[in-house]
């Protein structure tokens, strides 16, 4: 439930309250709940993710969103947006800012989980 809400926050973040940071925190909260309830072994078995690597991936994604516009001669971080017709969802809006947010999201999840598991293991 929290996970779904956090993804909702992530997706609306670029022009309504929400965003990658807060969504990341909420997602980590769900993982932490799991962790508290079932312990580290269970956690590892259902979520075989390398959290530090998640940080790097997130950073790379955010950086990439910033750099790509430079290739088109626009300043760093310029975001593009427009409308798109998707088969299932119908008319919807897209923006590259979402990708940036996704990067932030990954970084936050990675950082929080790294810290909490490191503290928890000691």
């Amino acid at each position: 439930m929290i996970l779904i809400f956090s993804i909702y926050l992530l997706l609306q973040g670029h022009n309504a309250p929400g965003g990658g940071f807060i969504a990341g925190l909420m997602t980590s909260a769900t993982f932490v709940l799991q962790y508290v309830a079932y312990g580290i072994k269970h956690q590892r078995s259902i979520l075989p993710l390398n959290f530090p690597m998640l940080i790097a991936l997130g950073l790379l994604l955010s950086l990439g969103t910033g750099v790509v516009p430079m290739l088109f001669g626009k300043p760093f971080l310029t975001s593009a947006f427009g409308h798109l017709s998707l088969p299932v969802f119908g008319e919807s809006e897209w923006a590259t800012a979402v990708l940036f947010d996704l990067g932030v999201y990954l970084v936050v999840v990675g950082v929080t989980m790294t810290i909490i598991t490191a503290l928890g293991e000691n």
Partner: protein
């Protein structure tokens, strides 16, 4: 493609490099390769920027195409480009040394990633045109420096890092307060916009207070009198390579910010602010050198000299004429190069002999002639003997001081210069001259020393090509004494 957009490359390159090295966890040789390529590109790009802005053009752009006072602005004038180039040279030199001196353990714990992040923070601070982003880049730089300092977890290291962290957090908090006050008074944080608003502001009393807050903040980072106390203890506790980059780069970013703030923003009452700066300059020179006289550790001696040399740079700023600023910049550039070279030689000495305590050394010149002479030339350059670059930068400073009739300050500067020479000769005499007091291992140290030799060569080149250098820094000084150029470039051209 417009060049303006690409001035941010010196920030993006190290960031990308840091992420890559982070992902290459454990594969040390590839990490080194990435770091080397990134810093090489960084240097090449900085040189290109310098060539571009030399004519007086100021490059600026706003991230995300936002209208100017609201967007995040990056700007590059001669001063920024010069600082970028020098910091690129210094970081590359330290990296080459780090390959030989940083142990595998530290390398595995992301030493190179944080080194690159540090370079990113430094470059960002040089380029940003927005005072809040200056804060952000400062934090990036400081956080990476905390990691670099504490990496390895030796006892002395952790103790000193803790002090360093507390001091810097305090300064950062003050920085934020200053930024908040500035925003409350003027309603903007864009530096060019701020310069305009400050000039037309009615109440200069409050602005003077804010100026003083910033002086304290940047002064703590730059280690000026009386805020230098944290530096001489904390720097020698770190690994030599980290020591070199902290001594060569970090404090100089504080000096850069002082230059920027007190030529662009707080120029409404130079009779007050710049008199304080001149006083601080003299006191910093004296305090640093007095501290150095009593020291017998090579690295703590050199750390006190950082403080003393900062005084000369602030002197240029305090004189506040185009020549004064130019001389200050010249000294800043010269000092970054030479100081790093000195720390690198001290580092190599440490690697070879296991100590930098002058009482335990002696006769090194016979065993390691190249090391001895590299130190000698770097030392006399720091003290200001011709034909090294230190002579010309001090000469210009003294000339500027005489022009502006600050005779007392000039006297202090000359005296301190003599004491610097004495102190350098002290190191040389105790460590390198005389009979060897014990056996030294005969090992090859050429590769570890090569970057120090290159830096000394650059210092010599800057001395021999003083004409060309002076022309460049004069252009920078004149450009900075006319803030309208910067303001117009940022507010209108973007």
């Amino acid at each position: 493609m417009k060049l303006d957009n690409l001035i941010i490359l010196p920030v993006l390159l190290p960031l990308a490099g840091a992420i890559l090295t982070f992902m290459l966890k454990g594969r040390l040789s590839r990490q080194k390769l990435v770091a080397l390529v990134v810093l090489g590109l960084n240097l090449a790009w900085s040189l290109l920027l310098l060539a571009q802005v030399r004519s007086g053009e100021i490059l600026a752009f706003s991230a995300g195409d936002w209208p100017v006072p609201f967007g995040i602005v990056f700007a590059c004038d001669i001063f920024s480009a010069l600082m970028l180039t020098v910091s690129a040279i210094v970081s590359l030199a330290v990296l080459l040394y780090a390959f030989h001196s940083i142990d595998i353990e530290r390398g595995k714990f992301n030493f190179y990633a944080f080194f690159l992040l540090l370079v990113m923070g430094v470059n960002g601070a040089f380029l940003t045109g927005d005072i809040f982003n200056l804060y952000v880049f400062f934090e990036i730089m400081l956080i990476s420096s905390y990691v670099l300092m504490s990496l390895g977890g030796e006892k002395a290291q952790l103790r000193e890092t803790f002090k360093y962290m507390v001091i810097n957090m305090l300064a950062s908090a003050l920085f934020l307060i200053g930024v908040a006050l500035l925003y409350a008074v003027t309603g903007t944080l864009n530096m060019a916009d701020l310069a305009v608003k400050i000039r037309t502001a009615a109440d200069h009393g409050l602005l003077t207070v804010i100026a003083m807050i910033f002086m304290v903040v940047f002064g703590t980072k730059a280690a000026i009198f009386p805020l230098y106390f944290w530096l001489p203890q904390s720097y020698p506790a770190t690994p030599p390579a980290v020591n070199a980059v902290l001594g060569g780069l970090l404090t100089k970013v504080g000096v850069y910010c002082l230059f920027r703030a007190f030529t662009l923003l707080f120029t409404f009452d130079p009779g007050y602010t710049h008199t304080i700066l001149r006083f601080i300059a003299g006191a910093t020179m004296a305090a640093g050198i007095i501290g150095a006289v009593g020291q017998f550790g090579m690295r703590s001696l050199l750390s006190y000299h950082i403080v003393s040399q900062i005084g000369y740079m602030i002197m240029g700023l305090g004189i506040f004429t185009p020549l004064g600023i130019a001389a200050g910049i010249y000294h800043l550039v010269h000092n970054m190069i030479v100081k790093t070279a000195l720390f690198l030689t001290a580092g190599v000495t440490h690697d070879l002999t296991g100590t930098t305590d002058l009482h335990k050394l002696g006769g090194l010149l016979k065993v390691y002639p190249l090391l001895g002479w590299t130190f000698f030339f770097a030392g006399i350059s720091l003290a200001g003997a011709p034909p090294m670059s230190g002579f010309f930068s001090k000469f210009a400073l003294i000339l500027a001081g005489l022009d502006a009739k600050h005779y007392l300050l000039v006297t202090v500067a000359v005296l301190i210069s003599l004491l610097t020479l004495y102190s350098m000769m002290k190191i040389f005499r105790y460590a390198f001259w005389g009979q060897a007091s014990r056996e030294y291992p005969k090992v090859k140290y050429g590769p570890a020393l090569c970057s120090a030799v290159a830096l000394v060569a650059i210092s010599l080149a800057m001395g021999l090509g003083a004409d060309w250098m002076l022309e460049l820094v004069m252009a920078a000084g004149e450009q900075m004494m006319d803030p309208d150029l910067y303001i117009r470039a940022v507010l209108l051209e973007v």
